[in-house]
Every structure is written in structure tokens, then in C-alpha cells.
């Protein structure tokens, strides 16, 4: 009975992904038929506006919503398992802040290399990884789950203070570029960048699947897992690396997108009612993609009335959900 329930939910989620992609396609301000869609893919003409619209605007937006949603949810799940804390996530634990700080540094440094695509991506990846290492060191000394989150928050405030100092030192152009970057966006990705993004994303998924056994062991705590033969420091380093890869990639291309990495892993556990990570990884990828596609569909739907940044919208939905989880835990 239970063994069939989880695959059933996952299959439904798998069907919901193309459905929400279709909803996303049809909530766009400019209507395109499926016919237009396929002709833009198979018979692309650079001078046809509808073709350009589909290939350069709609397709990258849908794909990056899937990558960002699934990737953030997956990296959130990895951190929650690693820290044994359902309230962990790339955003709360300052992984995004680390990425933001280094992106700000590189944007404002004035060196053109650091302002280029590759410069920003590597800055975000390194920043995410360093922040992760720092939080791991702190977690070694702090037992309480809530205290760790407070430290993450302090780290966030600290980096944003550093960023403000950088802002006041930097020129207007760089400042504007950074401020815009913090709003989060699913629209800045070019069609040509998609192969690279998808490649890194798939690497992250693949590496996560390799870690299924250690992840399942970590559920009962680091100490017990260690007594069962888990090489803790090695596994910690790997998990942190994958998280930084995924969260850093997404932060670099889309800016910070809050709460997906925190809310979706919890939602996935509640829906699947399991701690088996082979299911949780799939579930997070699927639910994360659906969540962000649906959020972005709403933004498209109301784009006439209000110019909402994606980061604001995910926070509006995600923050109350996290409060709900907190209340459930502290009950």
C-alpha cells in the first residue's frame, strides 16, 4: 500500500511539470499557439518576431524556472539533511548571502573579467561554497537548530552591511547593476546559455543520486551515521559542494530567489511521508519545478497590473509556509 503511494504521487508530479509549463506558456502576455511553439523550435527564423519571442523569451524562461525551482529545492533538501534541520536552506543559512557578497565585489571591482558572465558565475559559486564551509564550522559548535538559523541570519545581515559599504564606494552603474540583480529574475538567461546551465544542473542531480546512501544515514544524526561507518567529513564536503554548485549557479543567473529551498523540501516530505532520499530527490526536483513555474505564471498573469519581481512573490508564498512549519514543530 505505502510502497505504491509514493511512486503514484511522483508520477502525478511528473505529469504536472509539462502541464504547468503549458500553463506558464499560455499565461504569457503574448499568446502563442502550440503550432507556433513547435515551428519556432524546428523551423526557427531570426527575422520572425514570434519565433524570436518563443525561442529567446519563452523557452529560456520556462527552462530556467524548472532548473531554478528544482535546483533550489534539491539544494535546500541537501542542507536540511546535512544539518539535520528542517529549517535549513540556502537562503536562511547565508549561502545566498555569500554568493551575493562575492557577486557584489566582482561587479563593483571594476575589472571587466569579473563583470562578465563567467566572472559572476564563478564569484557566486565560490561565495556560496565559502559561506557553506563557514556555516558548517559553526554548526560543529552549535547544537541548537534555532541558534544555527540565528547565526545564518546574522551572517546575512553582516554581508548585507558589507554590501552597503561597497555600494557607497562604488560608481552609479555598478550599484544599479547590483540592485537589479538582487530583485531576482527568470528572464535574464539567453538561449545560448541554456546548454551550460542544464549541464551543471544535471551534474548536480547526478551527484545527489550518488549520495543517496550517506543522505539516508544522516537522517539519524551524524554520530549514529558515523558509527555505521559513514565518512562524515568527506560526505559533508561533497554535500556542501553540490549545494554550492546548484545554489550558486541559480543565484548567478537569476539572482536571489527566496524560500523555494526552504519551503519545497518540507512540502515534499509532508506529501511523500518518507525519509528515503531516492524518493525525496525526485520529489524535490519535481515539486520545486512546479512551484516556481506556477509562481512565475502568476507573475505573468498580473504583469499588466503590477511589475512583481520573482523574489518578492516566492517570499510572499514561502514565508507564511515556513511559519506554519515552525508552529507545527514547536507545538
Amino acid at each position: 500500500m505505502i510502497k505504491k503511494r509514493i511512486p503514484f504521487i511522483l508520477v502525478i508530479a511528473l505529469l504536472l511539470v509539462p502541464l504547468s509549463a503549458f500553463i506558464h506558456l499560455s499565461t504569457g502576455e503574448i499568446y502563442v499557439s502550440l503550432n507556433d511553439f513547435f515551428s519556432a523550435i524546428f523551423e526557427f527564423k531570426g527575422n520572425n518576431s514570434t519565433n524570436v519571442l518563443i525561442r529567446e523569451f519563452k523557452i529560456p524562461r520556462i527552462l530556467i524556472a524548472i532548473v531554478a525551482g528544482g535546483g533550489l529545492a534539491l539544494s535546500g533538501m541537501l542542507m536540511q539533511t546535512l544539518f539535520n534541520n528542517p529549517l535549513a536552506g540556502p537562503y536562511v543559512l547565508g549561502i545566498n548571502s555569500g554568493a551575493s557578497l562575492l557577486v557584489a565585489l566582482s561587479l563593483m571591482s571594476g575589472f571587466s573579467f569579473f563583470g562578465s558572465d563567467i566572472g559572476i558565475i564563478s564569484a557566486a559559486l565560490i561565495g556560496a561554497f565559502l559561506a557553506g564551509i563557514l556555516m558548517m564550522a559553526v554548526a560543529q559548535r552549535i547544537r541548537s537548530q534555532i541558534s544555527l538559523l540565528l547565526v545564518g541570519l546574522m551572517f546575512g545581515s553582516f554581508t548585507s552591511a558589507l554590501v552597503s559599504i561597497l555600494e557607497s564606494l562604488s560608481g552609479e552603474g555598478a550599484l544599479k547593476a547590483y540592485t537589479l540583480w538582487t530583485m531576482g529574475s527568470l528572464l535574464q538567461v539567453e538561449f545560448d546559455q541554456l546548454p551550460l546551465i542544464l549541464f551543471i544542473f544535471i551534474c548536480g542531480i547526478f551527484l545527489s543520486f550518488i549520495l543517496i546512501k550517506p543522505l539516508n544515514m544522516l537522517v539519524i544524526g551524524e554520530r549514529s551515521a558515523g558509527l555505521l561507518g559513514l565518512k562524515i567529513s568527506q560526505v559533508r564536503f561533497l554535500i556542501m559542494g553540490i549545494t554550492a554548485l546548484l545554489a550558486g549557479l541559480i543565484t548567478a543567473f537569476c539572482g536571489p530567489i527566496a524560500f523555494v529551498g526552504l519551503a519545497v523540501p518540507n512540502l515534499t516530505r509532508i506529501l511523500l511521508r518518507t525519509q528515503n532520499h531516492s524518493y525525496l530527490i525526485l520529489g524535490n526536483l519535481l515539486f520545486g519545478s512546479i512551484f516556481l513555474l506556477v509562481c512565475d505564471s502568476f507573475i505573468q498573469l498580473f504583469s499588466r497590473q503590477i511589475a512583481l519581481p520573482i523574489n518578492a512573490f516566492t517570499s510572499i508564498i514561502g514565508a507564511p509556509f515556513v511559519v506554519f512549519i515552525l508552529m507545527r514543530k514547536l507545538r
Binding site: 546512501k213 544515514m217 539519524i220 561507518g229 518518507t274 525519509q275
Partner: protein, 238 residues
């Protein structure tokens, strides 16, 4: 079987000295002593988590320092004083973790693994719990599951750190009886630390008394003897 040879245990300063001691297979030993005297440190030094200051420790003829981190969990299973349970972790998934020292890198259970789990589940009467959430069963049931996981690990040695601390009288009695049975039947060496001297005497366990910075093995049937030994520490310090 565990053999100690002239061992000093502790952190920077030696906490305990064990001259020469052999713990046999097929028996359950009760580790007793006052709080803070070094019972947990003793157990940790057997699992290799606290390194020895001097001397040699043998697990089934193999020297502890020479056993790899991967092979150690095939020799020793460890049970904490309490397992709080994890939301959405089913009893089955929890028990299956006991097989992780034996499974491949992906953690997939083979027929043998499944058989071992099934046998233990049947033997310990856990069939009705198997699909339940570990956070939703009773403390007694959870502690039983923790022991079951250690048995499923199929090791010649099982260490338990105050396994009866959070259990009521009936569950304590049941757990100790079970351990004695398993030790005899599967020829395992089992050590459990406890403050519950009555139950240990009732089940005729051999005692490992920690006192005056030493550990010694003794078979007693009088509670007062054990207490007198333990009290030496108190008298000395006062």
C-alpha cells in the same frame, strides 16, 4: 570477544586503567559506576571514537587500531540511551540502516539483507510496527527498534549506553531478557551500561565495575557488594 591489555583511557589525563581483561562471547556484561566516572568514555574507546592513551585492544583477535573505519561497523554495533525518532522515517527504513555497513555504495538491500531484517523483526515481534513512523511509536517500542537495528547489523559485539534509562520496569526486564537470549543464541559479546543494579542481578549478568580509576570484572549476587565498590570513589574524594 573483546580483550584489553594494559590499557589507559582518557583525554589529556588518564581516566581509567584496565590491566588485563577478556570479555567473552555469549555473555552480557553490565557496566556500572557513578556518574562521570568514565563509563561512556570506556564504551567510546571500544568504538574507536576515543583513542587509547596506551595499551592494546583486540576485537575478535584483531587489533582495534588496525581495523579500517569501513570494517569496524561490521564488528561493533552501538545503541544510544534513547532514539527520539525522526518524522516520516518508517521503522523499516530505520532498521534497514542497520545493514548499511554491508550494502553497496547505493545502499540497495539484497535478498540476504532483507532476510536478516525479516528474521529479527519476527523474533522481536515488531511486525505490526514495520510501516509506522518512528516519531509516532512509544519510547519502549523505539528502544526495542534501536536494539533490533543493532542486531540487524550482524556484529559479534554490541554496546548499549544506558539502554533502559527511559523505559518502565516491565520494558526494562523484557529488554535485558532479550539481550541475554541473543547473546547466548548468536554468541555475541554484549556490554550495557546501567544504573539499574537490581535488574542486572536478577538476570545474572556479569558486572564490570568502574571504581578507583579501574575496571574489574566480577560476578556478584548481592547488590550491597556492588554499591560498596562504587562507593569507594565517593569516600575517597570526601
Amino acid at each position: 570477544m573483546i580483550r584489553f591489555e594494559e590499557i589507559e583511557i582518557g583525554y589529556s589525563k588518564p581516566l581509567l586503567f584496565i590491566p588485563s581483561l577478556t570479555l567473552d562471547a555469549g555473555k552480557v556484561y553490565a557496566l556500572v559506576g557513578l556518574n562521570g566516572i568514565g563509563k561512556s568514555t570506556f564504551l567510546n574507546s571500544i568504538t574507536g571514537q576515543t583513542s587509547l592513551l596506551s595499551g592494546k585492544l583486540f576485537l575478535n583477535q584483531q587489533e582495534l587500531q588496525k581495523i579500517s573505519k569501513v570494517n569496524l561497523p561490521k564488528l561493533i554495533a552501538y545503541v544510544d540511551s534513547s532514539f527520539a525518532g525522526v518524522e516520516y522515517l518508517t521503522v523499516f527504513d530505520y532498521l534497514a540502516l542497520g545493514r548499511s555497513p554491508h550494502t553497496n555504495n547505493m545502499g540497495k538491500l539484497n535478498t540476504e539483507d532483507k532476510q536478516v531484517i525479516q528474521e529479527v523483526v519476527r523474533e522481536l515481534n515488531l511486525v505490526h510496527l514495520i510501516e509506522k513512523d518512528t516519531s509516532e511509536i512509544s519510547d519502549g517500542e523505539r528502544q526495542l527498534c534501536a536494539v533490533a537495528r543493532a542486531i540487524i547489523q550482524s556484529t559479534p559485539i554490541i554496546l548499549l549506553d544506558e539502554p533502559t534509562a527511559f523505559l518502565d520496569y516491565l520494558n526494562r526486564q523484557k529488554l535485558i531478557e532479550l539481550l541475554v537470549l541473543i547473546a547466548e543464541k548468536q554468541q555475541k559479546t554484549i556490554i550495557l551500561s546501567s544504573h539499574d543494579i537490581d535488574i542486572c542481578i536478577n538476570n545474572a549478568l556479569e558486572f564490570l565495575i568502574v571504581s578507583e580509576k579501574k575496571i574489574f570484572k566480577t560476578k556478584v549476587s548481592d547488590k550491597q557488594v556492588v554499591i560498596r565498590e562504587m562507593e569507594k570513589d565517593v569516600l575517597k574524594s570526601s
